[in-house]
Symmetry: D2
Subunit: 366 residues, 4 copies
């Protein structure tokens, strides 16, 4: 419940950053879905620490092991469990941190809530938990793509103040992975890289935004009241560590517009399909997909663990100065792209079940 996501396609993550490993149980997976361990490995590589100089230097091979629900390249319909051992654990880096609260980190709230915390690597608060999300996302994606021509893309659209234009869409999807920080415009990417490296050198960190783009979702997904697709995506994406905001379509900018400017005018395209001329709605009307691409943008705060000196308080509330050690990301954005995509796939897998159920008894003009 507290560690599970989804209602029909449901995954549960477990494991602490500096414990034996990280795992996930994915329930609701159909039988007979082809799945290779290599697919999981490849997906995990994209979120892996140590993949470039722009990320933490913690070295984890992140080799997934399938514990259940799978045999000879095929899912069995039983819960699929994947386990990734922690290897490069250096808990000693954290010894000094046990006596104080790192600013803007979950140290204080965990300690207050549980009376206990596993300081090493942040325990559950660590980004290592997201391994489970990425694994679940692979399965969700495979399941959906067997039936629907859906695709999900995420990219880094801003780092600090360096930003792509608000309505930017990549020219080619492959441009995203060409950039070490997953910004599809080479020039902008380079500026972002510089900014990250410059922050890193100062022991500082930097925030930014990720944009998401979902294409191919049929009209009619999402439920009109409390399972609006934007609410479900919002819930999913706001559960990613460091996310502080989300907007759909025109979002905050759209709130400055007039209705006459903002409305997406319908037209019928040359294939006879009803489309809209603009997409301020971000593919969603009344909580339900309208067949246009679903677009959103997510704000990540800068990583709170910085390596320069900071003031804070000890467990006893006394003023102390601290300087973090450990290996941390100067910017999580590049590694967060696959996590954003994975959570999006999981929302879609969950909605897919409802989408096929709430059909009308005698279908009208759809």
């Amino acid at each position: 419940m507290f560690n599970s996501f989804g209602q029909y396609f449901r995954f549960t993550t477990f494991g602490e950053s500096h414990g034996p490993g990280i795992g996930v149980v994915v329930d609701g997976v159909p039988a007979g879905l082809p799945l290779e361990v290599e697919e999981l490995t490849t997906a995990l590589l994209r979120r892996r620490p140590g993949q470039s100089i722009y990320t933490t230097s913690r070295k984890e091979e992140d080799s997934p092991e399938i514990l259940s629900g799978w045999k000879n390249g095929i899912t069995l319909g039983s819960p699929l469990t994947v386990w990734v051992k922690n290897k490069d654990v250096r808990s000693s880096d954290y010894d000094a941190l046990e006596k104080l609260y790192r600013p803007s980190h979950a140290d204080y709230t965990y300690q207050q809530k549980y009376g206990i915390r596993d300081a090493a690597g942040g325990g559950r608060a660590s980004a290592r938990e997201t391994i489970g999300r990425v694994v679940a996302g692979v399965v969700a994606q495979k399941w959906i793509q067997q039936e629907y021509p859906v695709n999900v893309w995420g990219w880094v659209s801003s780092v600090g103040e360096i930003s792509l234009p608000e309505d930017y869409i990549p020219k080619q999807w492959s441009d995203i992975e060409s950039s070490p920080i997953r910004c599809p415009e080479a020039e902008i990417s380079r500026k972002m890289e510089e900014l990250i490296l410059s922050a890193k050198e100062k022991g500082d960190t930097v925030g930014g935004c990720i944009s998401g783009y979902i294409e191919g979702v049929p009209v009619g997904w999402g439920e009109p009241m409390y399972m609006k697709i934007q609410a479900l995506l919002g819930y999913a994406l706001l559960s990613i560590p460091a996310v502080k905001g989300i907007e759909f379509g025109s979002g905050f900018s759209g709130s400055q517009m007039k209705g006459s400017q903002h409305n997406d005018i319908f037209y019928t395209d040359d294939k006879g399909k009803i489309r809209t001329q603009t997409n301020h709605s971000g593919g969603i009307q009344g909580g339900i997909t309208n067949g246009e691409p679903i677009v959103f943008r997510i704000a990540f705060k800068p990583v709170s663990t910085i390596l320069s000196a900071q003031e804070t308080v000890s467990l006893e509330g006394e003023k102390v100065e601290m300087k973090a050690k450990g290996r941390h990301d100067p910017c999580v954005l590049p590694r967060a792209v696959p996590i954003v995509e994975a959570m999006t796939w999981c929302v879609l897998a969950d909605l897919r079940v409802l989408a096929s159920q709430r059909f009308l008894v005698e279908k009208g003009n759809s």
Copy 2:
């Protein structure tokens, strides 16, 4: 499920805009909570249509009737049901709309999803559904305030391009209700009023932002993984019609900052309480409340039903020109404030249950 909100404190809304009425069942209400019908009436007055020239002229007295769960001023512990009859129904205004899809409205997606739609008043897609949310919010608020010194405030922080400063907090809470559009700064409020009236005259509509502020929530509410307090609030608030974005604390602006700027430095105040010097985190760290005020901002798109001429397509996909009739809000922001507050209270009521459960077995320093 599709029309229910909450897990422990759960409400279910029902009723169509132009059907017999709108209702809500609130489950999980304790026995013995004092509640008067007048309290519901007062709360509904704040979201009522026709309350000022800035809102729709539809006249609904919105007189709540308690159907169950209550006797002689006290709740019984059984489901509390409240029913509000629709009175000022003019379905004829909608006749012309049955043959076409209003731009950026849920007409098209509902028709595609259900093969049927109750065009009059938008059926379920109408804002009248939010009556149920406001009723549930009253109960949630009363329940929480019996034990916790919590308060929730919402105000209009922008209309179109007219905006309060990003980090603005009202000087006095009573200033909010002094403004007909619930903007606590008189000068700014007047500009917003002008903007709304000017849009209204042109048959146009205008969007804006609502800010939310929660004070008094104890440290430790929210669950660290998939029930982070920002994820639950995001889910709740993104389910309000016309909401297109949400941000917590520094939000999108914060994504442009460095970690060294953004981190909220801890200190111990003169009562010995651990506090933070700034509140970029918006009162939340690791998905859990840290005792500082929880702050958020929500973007509303402009109302899609405008009264000026627009192009669109008919049910058959043919290009047509339309001009909406009916009584609509030129700006939903003023009436949306109590809805934002109500959903916030309901999230808190739900979390309250968990908050009291996940305590550690032997409590440490909390």
Copy 3:
């Protein structure tokens, strides 16, 4: 949650026995399902009090009113709400009961749990709450029967010590309704009627069993672990007031058998369908339907409110003698048959959603 049943096809009941009325919200109903108020009225007639001398003399017309989710004979896909006003309320019958705890009634547990109880008619503990179940059952049945050749039958198989043979199946389904107490064997029915009347004359009550029979459910419904079909039916049927036991197939008798006797031998029938020679499994193997009829039997305790003198304690714990007034059933079995059927339909409607989802990716030999 506490007053809701079902996950996908979910209904929520509300209302107290001696309050304004009883209602139900059914969520998850598809759009376009034909439904007439008369169908609800007819179904409620079967559970109605005062339908024969074997039931309570409380007179309720039980006229259902549809408050939402329906227009012109068709469901809208939005929550369907049905409301039945209480009419023949005589709370004064209950005045004396407010000061004591009726033996084996929920008086004591409610008082302890809620510190409050609506003594009149037992408040929520009254069988009037089952009106909502019957309404939900009508919708569930209609939805399922639009696609599947499923039928559900319940009948009274024992009253006191008068019992049909354990493996009895009615010769004709219409025989059930021919009996005023819904026992399909005329001779046995008469003996049961005599027993009920004899108990009634003495101010006493009598228990009994209801048998259930579901035909036409396809192979493969039910989930193998924690949504086994027997677990879901058990959960549903044990929630009916006065039910104290349930068994499936051979049930308790089967626990006395050897595996070699109990096993249901497979064979292929002349249409090439795999069947079993016996049905000790009651249509379920490993929690999943095997295509044979699902059979179960439910034990009801005798009604606890008897009209003869009984010893008990007052609210203060002092020994008192009581003699109940009010109008009560000498035997609930006849009126409980439609409730058993309704809950069964609701379980099937819920399972139907999953049944269509958990198919394998490439279907084998099914």
Copy 4:
């Protein structure tokens, strides 16, 4: 969801009988609960195969390994994961079974549902899945017993036609474990042992009943409508493989009684506590605990896998004769006792959360 149990204290099991192992994730465990691996080992020993000549000869050490949520003898508040490797796997025993459907086994229904089945050891349908339940039960028990003087006892009350009296309660709880088959009456136990051995010699199996007894639950646990304690226990216990029936208190026998006989008369004991003279209600009134012991009885069908020759059909539906190999229990009852107890603890842990929440605002006489 399909493989999860519980709403607040929730566990999810995973793993196949002849795969790498069996695991469980327990979510909702508080931080700071003392827990030693030895406690898990001891609990698993009670359900372990090969513990006596009355059970399967499959030899599994069932050594539990804690993968997450635990450090140095204490739970962390994060999900607790326990993993037990499968060791004595002899899949070859099952080769012949892949081509046919064992009578009354889940072979046929799984094949039809999933189009695939892991014949070896029955895959998920194997009793090995219950390892996870036993582990969750240990945690649930420890958590509850930290605050409440609750205890749960199960014993074998019948094997085949050999039965303890219906209202039998053990004289001493320790008598249960003194018997190799967990029947607390030495004489009856011996007769049961003989019956099991005699069945085993013939390659046959035998069913029976387990009785359950819960003491110390406070008044007021359970929710009056759809979370009645008997419904929740029924749901939990009917999910155990081979269970075909359950009854509470007087159960099926009680259905033959008159109200005047069956009612449990209240009295005030010498400590001033309100009690009942009899306990036909089995500790439950209106779905809520009344402070008396909760008593129930569960029927298990005989194990379907017998070692003598049986007729059945092949995958193609052709008549074949089969003779099972593999190591199977002649009677599951002795090993099922700890599973019944574990599921009961888990229901209580789940209810405990609600029990503490639904208190009235101002408590009355409790």
